[in-house]
Symmetry: C2
Subunit: 669 residues, 2 copies
Amino acid sequence: MIWYRSDFIFIYQLLRKQLPTFAVQIMINITLPDGAVRSYESGTTALEIAKSISEGLARNVLAVKVNGEIKDLTRPITSDSRIELLTWDNKDGKSTMWHSSAHLMAEALEYFYPGIKFWVGPPVENGFYYDVDMGDHQISSDDFKKIEEKMLELARKNNVFIRKERSKAEAAQYFLEKGDEYKLDLLQNLEDGTISFYTQGNFTDLCKGPHIPNTGFIKAAKLTAIAGAYWKGDEKNKQLTRLYGITFPKQKELEEYLTMIEEAKKRDHRKLGKELDIFIFDDDVGPGLALWLPNGAILIEELEKLAKKTEQRAGYKRVKTPHLAKENMYLTSGHLPYYAESMFPPMVMDGEKYYLKAMNCPHHHKIFGSLNSSYRDLPIRLAEYGTCYRYEQSGELFGLMRVRSLNMNDAHIYCTEEQFAAEFRAVNDMYLKYFKIFGIEKYVMRFSTHSAEKLGKKYVDQPELWLKTEDMVRRVLIESNIPYVEVPDEGAFYGPKIDVQVWSAIGREFTLATNQVDFAVPARFGLTYRDSDNTMKTPICIHRAPLGTHERFIGFLIEHYAGNFPLWLSPKQVIVLPISDKYNDYAKEVCASLLHADIRAHVDERSEKIGRKIRDAETQKIPIMLIIGEKESTENKVSVREHGKGDQGAVSLPDFVKNIRELIEAQTA
Amino acid sequence: MIWYRSDFIFIYQLLRKQLPTFAVQIMINITLPDGAVRSYESGTTALEIAKSISEGLARNVLAVKVNGEIKDLTRPITSDSRIELLTWDNKDGKSTMWHSSAHLMAEALEYFYPGIKFWVGPPVENGFYYDVDMGDHQISSDDFKKIEEKMLELARKNNVFIRKERSKAEAAQYFLEKGDEYKLDLLQNLEDGTISFYTQGNFTDLCKGPHIPNTGFIKAAKLTAIAGAYWKGDEKNKQLTRLYGITFPKQKELEEYLTMIEEAKKRDHRKLGKELDIFIFDDDVGPGLALWLPNGAILIEELEKLAKKTEQRAGYKRVKTPHLAKENMYLTSGHLPYYAESMFPPMVMDGEKYYLKAMNCPHHHKIFGSLNSSYRDLPIRLAEYGTCYRYEQSGELFGLMRVRSLNMNDAHIYCTEEQFAAEFRAVNDMYLKYFKIFGIEKYVMRFSTHSAEKLGKKYVDQPELWLKTEDMVRRVLIESNIPYVEVPDEGAFYGPKIDVQVWSAIGREFTLATNQVDFAVPARFGLTYRDSDNTMKTPICIHRAPLGTHERFIGFLIEHYAGNFPLWLSPKQVIVLPISDKYNDYAKEVCASLLHADIRAHVDERSEKIGRKIRDAETQKIPIMLIIGEKESTENKVSVREHGKGDQGAVSLPDFVKNIRELIEAQTA
């Protein structure tokens, strides 16, 4: 008798599914992010899995994502699962540690201020906070140091975060006895059967978790701010004290963070944007709607020139579309009703609703649809610096980073399945080219995929196309040697998504751009091309925006360069500084030569001392100052001074013009 | 006793105003458009005034504008007036003749079809129409010829248009007897005391006039179309017959007109726009909202490049502003409520109304306001290719000529009074430069001024500033030798206005652009600059848009060039045509050299005969075809063929690239 593989599978299924009460040790399959599948006994914890991979990993792992849900490392896993072990390098790993750090801070606070009561203490983008009713106690930033020290002392005890599940009645009893009206209020909205407590050391909290295994992971702690916060955000309620903090697994990381924060304050794009006359907001125009001043418009023009040249050479074609369309188009695209909350409200005209565009894709689809393309015409790459409008709550708006009007470096590539990989690779290459131009050294692509369980709900129900395109994307990322992380269950409705994250010169992280693969919406628009076999086929569409929006990208660049834009990008490239009025005429001649060579130059004709003129030019961060005196004007020379670098010596005017034009063309420095 | 001038004025006023019943022959002052004042006896007619100026003028004058109102030449003028004698060269002169021609056509129709009844017969942009109830008569375009001949026969009788004023009762009696329910209907809406009849030859019509003196002015007549038209535009009413016609003072002008119409049909921008893939409209996007295809976007990009370069060299600074703003800004600017009907309906967001911008000025004012300028900074010239949205009734929309989204070559110049003349002259010079580039040979500036009586109503109440700026504008126009006509009482609310009218290569007239002087709105926005005496002053603002909107300008250019765009502007500049597949590789090399030199080129790789390839390239109106065969590929040459001109001989590839780049840079051909 020959045993076939299918027989084993049958028996296995019998054991696992048909006879679940059968008392045998059941094995489960654990799929790791790289696709590797390992077999473990049911009930194994993620910490044990980490240990089975490497001791080092086990020492660094903070939490685990099981089938997309973040959990404690110590909870047993009892069925086939896709898991991701979360370390400090992972956003969710950080969040978990910061959430645990909020509990640790609470423990320290309770030590110093017995009887205080706690509301909520979540992790935030950089650290965590806890809202506290301090009772009769007083607290100020003067107390931060002792709290930080106590936190570290408690952390060193390696106290384990112990989870206990409780019935609603038990939980209520506990807080009634404690006299904690805040937690009782929280409890009201929880359902019986979902209630858990976490305890570490002497502190117990109502909390759904997850937490890091023990406090020992926290090696550095800093309280960063204190503020008032109305209970539940309602100013009719009592004001609580909100204490912000941040923690790190290494003291050195805290120090680096503090340096970065200090530097980021100096480079704040809102502050520099104002000082360098780049943009304004105006109450009568509206929040989140930037008005670009002449210096800002130069940045925009230079970026657009770069993008247009780059895209033209890469075979893109430009289009130009209106900023609005009828409701019907957005019903077709699915923006209505799914994306309605992020869209501006409609205008009713001639009995129809018109919406401002929140994305350019539907308009581009309409253009592709009008082209009657054959397979010979594909790929067709339609590019536009289209301005989109998205509704953000006014409280969410933040300088150029969160706005309502977005000037987007947009394009849509329509291609066949066979062309997809090459097109996607070319898009990535374009990203890398831009990163080089802008001196972006650290970047990562966050590759979001679908979840098989949510097909037909969160994701378009085409399982094969999902797997196929995800596989193509993954392969290109690997082959191109691009650093990436894969995030299950965060894809777009219509296909896998790549968020491009970059780090500024001071190490702050920005999400600048999104690439999306779309194999669903083209069909909704009835887009087709005539294939070589004379049948009509639906193209795949790649949505891409390497330079993101002007708003966010320029906000990033201001911080990245600290306002010291490279020569080619700088709104003011050269300032001519005559050392006295006597040399104004020659200074103007010099300026005219520069303007003629399309160099952005002007003369400081004020009757000020040269020292003052230089100081003012340095404040304006103008890359090049030309000092003009007797020697220069008689010898047709200019004395060159570079911003932040000082005197570079004298050079003949024609040589200077030639050199600087070369520097500008090279888009370096 | 010495008589002073004031004494005479006193006596004169006594005679004219204090004692109006005094039976003396009163003299009136007639002000001509050039500002000259002539004295005539009260009761003089405009025809007599024309005769007093020149017999030639009297022979050509068709009607008169008295204080802004068009009147018959034969009506007596009885008070001081500003008059303009209207000839065929004047829009209102044409309208008057065409209105009279509608009466003439009616007379001819009544001759052939007794008993027919007339509804209304107005002049239109090109000619006139009359809506007629033909009763039992049949009429078709076959009858046009006999009607035209009859019209000319009647015209040759030099029948005078005789005006008679009638009471409402008399008029009603007349049409009751005639059994004309249409004119009775018209009569219902007229007030007693305002009712007049006009008679020429055998035709009498209820009509408020005015008319030309007699039918003899009409020397050429053409019926152009016949159509059905529901009475009062309501499809529940009876369908009348609408007959269109046009007339001219010379037979030659009719012939030229017919040639132009024929040519205009071939050059129709909607037809060529489709054939050359320049733009589309889409039902789901909305009427009047053009989507620019890749070829159209190239035209846009080239025009913007030209404008940006020109404006940069003229000292303009670019800005970029959102497409909407809060209601409050448009209340400040006065767009609300005065311009509300031309604006898109509001969006209600966060409890506030937001409007799409119909003009860029308020946003630019906000930017100027943020700059804290001193007199040293002025003039400040803020430029933007801003997209504005204006509501036009859907029935008014027409191709690219009447649209709802307008990409405007806009700029606002903020200057002192002293700087105004020079700035305004520079703007005019820029117009002339563009006219030269685009081969626009015929143009006229229509200079609209205020009306003293309407100060504080239609016009901002600053009489001195009106006179002063109008005088400055007039002086610049005269000194610059620019052809212009002055039109009283058509200025903007906030200052004098110049509409720029140009004629396309086939002699059709287009209004492309508007210049406006604005000495009112800057104050409403509280705009100031610090003057040399340290006081805050309000700048004058010049609104200017020499290239108008992309929509209208490109529409014009399509007709002007019949789609044969000059090389620098052409979406496709060069097509490379291998005479067989054997030469495809060399053709691709040639193409790559061209692309590298930023020349828009592509290869026709189809396996078609060279004759077919050439024909297709000619249809696409590609300026230059390069024929590639054995000789060319072995000698590294290209054989040049120009669109519409044929073979230009062979040339080495590097020479060709150099020559064509020079042609493109020169923006000629």
